[in-house]
Amino acid sequence: MKTEDKYIKDITEIRSMMERSTKFLSLSGLSGILAGIYALVGAYIAYRLFYVNNENIVYNTIDRQEISAEVGNLIILALAILILAVGTAVFLSQKKSQKDGEKLWNSATQRVVINMAIPLVTGGIFIIILLSKGLYGLLAPASLLFYGLALVNTSKFTFEEIKSLGIVQIVLGLLASYFIGYGIFFWAFGFGLMHIVYGIFMHQKYEM
């Protein structure tokens, strides 16, 4: 029957167009897996080099001069991980959108970037303020919390799974702020392991 098929096709077409024009679907699961690996390597380096498993870390009882050099290295390490992870995500998204015949920088991408950027930039500034006050122990919880909020905030404009990943990061962030001194383990679990798990899941679901 010609007409009924056409109606169903019309509805499918409407749905797909609405989704394509609002959602950023060029994110590759591989980006998540790689970001997770970078984070785990970074957490390991940080643990070996700087980590003091001590509740006093929050109150900065150590000489300020001594700790500021370590913190400087920690910031460089964190920035390196961030640049690698974001760079990988942009590169793989570019490849995926090329394959799908779409431009990467469209209105859907812009929405994702803006909705991510507001909580992330807020979190970044907040963390810099924490560091300047010597509250190093809150670095891991704060980064998990703001990253989680950014993901939840962005999830309506991309794959729906991102929302649950965001909630996981928020819960980890709260736990890390309670069990202060173990922040790096929660951080490695959230940014490392969870990215890998979600990356594999999304790669299998959407790219196989």
Binding site: E4, D10, I14, M17, T22
Partner: protein, 99 residues
Amino acid sequence: MKVIIDGLRKAFESRVRLGIMSALAVNDTLEFTALKEYLDVTDGNLASHIKALEKEEFIGVKKSFVNRKPNTRYFMTKQGKKAFEEHIMALEKLINSHK
């Protein structure tokens, strides 16, 4: 525009026009180039469909300058929104009645 059968609108019969309306239903405004990319059609083809929808007053045009370059954005009018919603409802009804 007359209602043709069961609330379906002739103006939305074409795939391109249906696509334009769907994209504008979920975006406040869209540029010509963005629509072109989503629909994968030629400039001329898209322009003629846009003109037809404009004539029905289902979509409107906002012209402005961004960095001194002309920028044309399209949006859905209230009338267009109503017509599009009715069209979707009619489609759903027709599909359900065939079951």
